[in-house]
Symmetry: C4
Subunit: 230 residues, 4 copies
Amino acid sequence: MLEQLRRDVLEANLEIVRRGLVLYTFGNASGIDRASGLVAIKPSGVPYESMTPEDLVITDLDGNIVEGKLRPSSDLATHLHLYKEFPTIGGVVHTHSEYATAWAQAGREIPAFGTTHADYFYGPVPVTDELTPEEINGDYVLNTGINITNRFKGLDPNAIPGVLVRGHAPFAWGKDAADAAYHATVLEAVARMAWFTVALNPTCTGVSQALLDRHYQRKHGAKATYGQGK
Amino acid sequence: MLEQLRRDVLEANLEIVRRGLVLYTFGNASGIDRASGLVAIKPSGVPYESMTPEDLVITDLDGNIVEGKLRPSSDLATHLHLYKEFPTIGGVVHTHSEYATAWAQAGREIPAFGTTHADYFYGPVPVTDELTPEEINGDYVLNTGINITNRFKGLDPNAIPGVLVRGHAPFAWGKDAADAAYHATVLEAVARMAWFTVALNPTCTGVSQALLDRHYQRKHGAKATYGQGK
Amino acid sequence: MLEQLRRDVLEANLEIVRRGLVLYTFGNASGIDRASGLVAIKPSGVPYESMTPEDLVITDLDGNIVEGKLRPSSDLATHLHLYKEFPTIGGVVHTHSEYATAWAQAGREIPAFGTTHADYFYGPVPVTDELTPEEINGDYVLNTGINITNRFKGLDPNAIPGVLVRGHAPFAWGKDAADAAYHATVLEAVARMAWFTVALNPTCTGVSQALLDRHYQRKHGAKATYGQGK
Amino acid sequence: MLEQLRRDVLEANLEIVRRGLVLYTFGNASGIDRASGLVAIKPSGVPYESMTPEDLVITDLDGNIVEGKLRPSSDLATHLHLYKEFPTIGGVVHTHSEYATAWAQAGREIPAFGTTHADYFYGPVPVTDELTPEEINGDYVLNTGINITNRFKGLDPNAIPGVLVRGHAPFAWGKDAADAAYHATVLEAVARMAWFTVALNPTCTGVSQALLDRHYQRKHGAKATYGQGK
């Protein structure tokens, strides 16, 4: 089973490169096997071209390395915190994709300007608060995760599968690593179109609640009408 | 005959992907056989790479499936309404191409800023009105089509072969599916150049009526001088 | 000799496609054999993929077709006028490359913001005046050429090998068709960087006269220090 | 040994092309062998496609050609000055990459807006002062180098491995030619994201000193936690 997880997580890591979200090694994907509580994550600073399933690092939810000779992604603690606090997710992706990162750097949430957004994110993509010097100088990577889950108090991570970490870059998640990579890709497209939109209309308020409801439920609700059904 | 229509519509669906107008499955093309009143349209949510002519869905103008095992594109009712109301068109394409979508999200029509625009669109590319909550909660996909044709009262769909659906994305059409895909591609290029233009000159008013007339008639009028003739 | 001219002009037409300056058939390149006064130009509306040297149309400077079965580019009269008025040039390229077109649509010249510009254009890239309705309704394509050469009164076409036709798009030229294609490519890069620059600094005045002199003469003056010499 | 240097420098010259930083021949990379004080640099105006290790020019730090039949890059004197004044660097890259060039043309330093920046540049990427007419008309290429090192008084070139030459374009450097090419690539990505950021938030002040410290030291300090260690 972990063989399949390794392959899926490797594939998600390669997918975010193919989709143009990653320069060099500035990104990482992980996946969790909820039954065993084990996580597969990209090793740190290893080129994508030569990565094999065996290079992935397997850890438990406390970050103990269970299998793997390489050091895990330096963002491991953020991934693990998200798995602990968002029990329904099965994959996490972090990239520095350029438009989403620009919104994160500008400290602005991405408003729901259109149906492309509404199909995947049920409301604005939120931006976290600034970390304090204490949080930065402390367990910084873990604190980045806590920062995200604090921002999601009152929000449903299944309805808004991504976030902008202020001054840093986006994280996205999903039911597995492939789904997280998919959401990271959509997030970048949505960020790009929103960036084009505010330039044309700085006071744009975005779609109505009715349209937001309609599009989100079209793909995700009990009465979903998109795709070929179950 | 429907075999040819299936192949043409498949090709138009692949063309909008090759032209970079489509992320994942965010787009669809259809074509109509006016003699029989039958429409071929992309199935919903099926990857382009593996799509065959047989995967296309054939419906009548009321949306009854005449042939095909898959569910048709969720935008079917919009396509059908356009075929009913615009009797001269033979193909419809819907994409979320990024610059055209930005204009749609910003709620701004695309002015005729230059001859590239004038060669294909005889005036601004219009943007529809906002749908009411009732229209959204009702037969939303059909109402999107009605919204478009309402906006075209007094406009000639042959002279302006595309529209921006406010808060959503563009639709384009043409004499067949290939022509609709061609107009969708030109619309995105025109949207992109117009976006670059307003950043340089926010009060740009665009080309003169004389230039608009000249360029449009150069390619489309009775005295067309472009190409190798009939 | 015309065989070589045909091949060179075909190559220039293909080069502007490879460089991303051309969508569909929105561009054309020509070259002149000054000894015979004959011009080779792209045929109108023919796809680049299947174009052969034999498809090119040979005309004299009055536009009489000397050789070729196809209709020449609809922009022929502009090319011919430039060859007549700029006796030192040997090639002309017209594209709707997107950033240069945006400056043309905005009606703004491209200031000499940096050394990339100064290496090729000895001063701003000028924009023509608006054509009058009479000029548009008259011999429009010829008048476009006259419009360009009027704008160059007092300017040296060898020192500024390109222009923006207001509300339309750029023309570029050079010692032969390849050189014209090269200048069209540089013009688009310069237009793009200038567009990025004004967004950062709307009141940017560009490089000093000393730097403009230095860079232009570095590549073009009698004391040129760039490249491997003659 | 110089054979290896030649190969490394050729590879760095090819890498900046592959990364999209170079149009035609608008860029050059060099490397130094500190033991012998010899520098390998790209020849001037030679196409990348056909360049071989033997085409590279070997000079001493005074610019005397030690080996090579071709004329060295016209920017040689700038490279040599950087090697003299920054004794810890082993490679220099100059490009006209488009977003970094836009910041240089606009005369604005690139603020440290996020962690992507902080991972590589420990503070803003500085922009040099304008050269005087005397400096331009004198030994211009050397003066460009002096202009850079003057700007770095009080700055550590190892902590900020790049600069914007005002009205011109970026230079980057590193421990060898490959590292310089890597920094040139990151600089362009950082320039692009910063450009997107100021459009969203013109008064953005960037990351806190604590975050800047944390990210820079994460990759470069004695307690670096990124990658697979030494």
